[in-house]
Amino acid sequence: MAVSSHDQALVRLFAEGEAEILADWVSTLNLRETRMTPQEAESQGRAVLHALGKAVAQGNANDLRGAEYLEVREVLQGFSRSRALQGFSPTETATFVFSLKRSLFAQARKTAKGDEAFQLLWRVTELIDQLGLFTVETYQKTREELIARQGKEIEELSTPVVKLWDGIVALPLIGTLDSGRTQVVMQNLLETIVQTEAEIAIIDITGVPMVDTLTAQHLLKTVSAARLMGADCIISGIRPQIAQTIVQLGVDLNVVSKATLADALALALRRTGRVVSKLKVPSPSAPQEPPAEARG
């Protein structure tokens, strides 16, 4: 591709004025709302400007997707990504790129006159806009990745089945119960029942923020499925507010329920023929490890 006269002007602009542009840009950056340290502005600015100058010199002044811009893209990607992960706003991130426009305009005014100057300004504007869009896009992509990852982590964290005792498992539910999560919860619970040969499953809903008819139905389904597998269910952790809601909704939660997980565990232990009692007098000669049942 032959380098047009406008492009040549652009190439000259970068080649001759790099140091000047950088100095101006960095001073602008420090004034504006980018929340960058002077050192950071200096090093990032130098990297971008250098890569940009090289790309333009190779004859491509308008297509950011071209191979010439690989280095520019990499530098901007790294910058945008790290800003996104550190929690900067999109404006603060994009301002970094857009503030380059002013410095380039100032430099262009010195090197070109009349019609040529307008052409050059248009070129610069086009280029900077593309860079800005690219930066924002990368920023958004990084944020979305972050959100997707957190969502997955929450999902994994929120459906554990824990073994409380031989034959007793508990399912502490945290967060809203929708049909998708109920499916996962149900499957987890039933598989754990098979693995641990549990006879009693305690479903603790302390962490469920609200219970509507649908949630209640999901709970009942889980209880029903566990019963079919041969395990009894106890529902615990029903807060006063939620108890009132359930009654007002007219939902018939026809299962054994307890106010707290502790009560439910006590009931489960009793049902499996165990008692929890306090040690009478801890004699000094007794072994360090008291029998598990006797712990209060």
């Binding site: 029903s224 079919l228 041969g230």
Partner: protein, 129 residues
């Protein structure tokens, strides 16, 4: 026509479903079982479905029917070894089998219909701990 064997152990009848149930087989089992309960004066029926992978509403209703018939003839029914997927399917079909006793495995199921569950279970646990 093939049928599902029914074994008599003490006062209980043992049915192990090892093949895919089709409707005819289910009806046949229901008939056979009813006769055997009367013939052996059985007090309990244990149905092991640990090998059953696919259920439909018909099989679900059959299990409920067997339980109801047995109760009329004074025998307890316990279904044991249901797989998680099967349990989920039945619940989604609206078949919670309310009149049927369930247990995780055959051993516990036998304890349940033998009426020795409370004493036997406690003794087992004491040994464990």
């Amino acid at each position: 026509m093939d049928s599902i064997p029914i074994l008599k152990i003490g006062s209980a009848l043992l049915v192990t479903i090892q093949v895919d149930m089709h409707d005819q087989l289910a009806t046949r089992l229901q008939d056979d079982l009813t006769e055997k309960i009367v013939q052996h004066r059985a007090r309990g029926v244990l149905i092991d479905i640990s090998a059953l992978e696919i259920v439909d509403s018909f099989i679900g209703r059959m299990l409920a029917n067997i339980a109801n018939v047995s109760r009329l003839l004074d025998a307890d029914t316990v279904v044991v070894g249901m797989r998680p997927e099967v349990a989920i399917t039945l619940v989604e079909l609206g078949l919670g089998l309310p009149g049927v006793k369930t247990a995780l495995n055959a051993e516990r199921g036998l304890a349940l219909i033998g009426g020795v569950s409370a004493a036997g279970q406690a003794a087992d646990d004491a040994d464990d701990d």
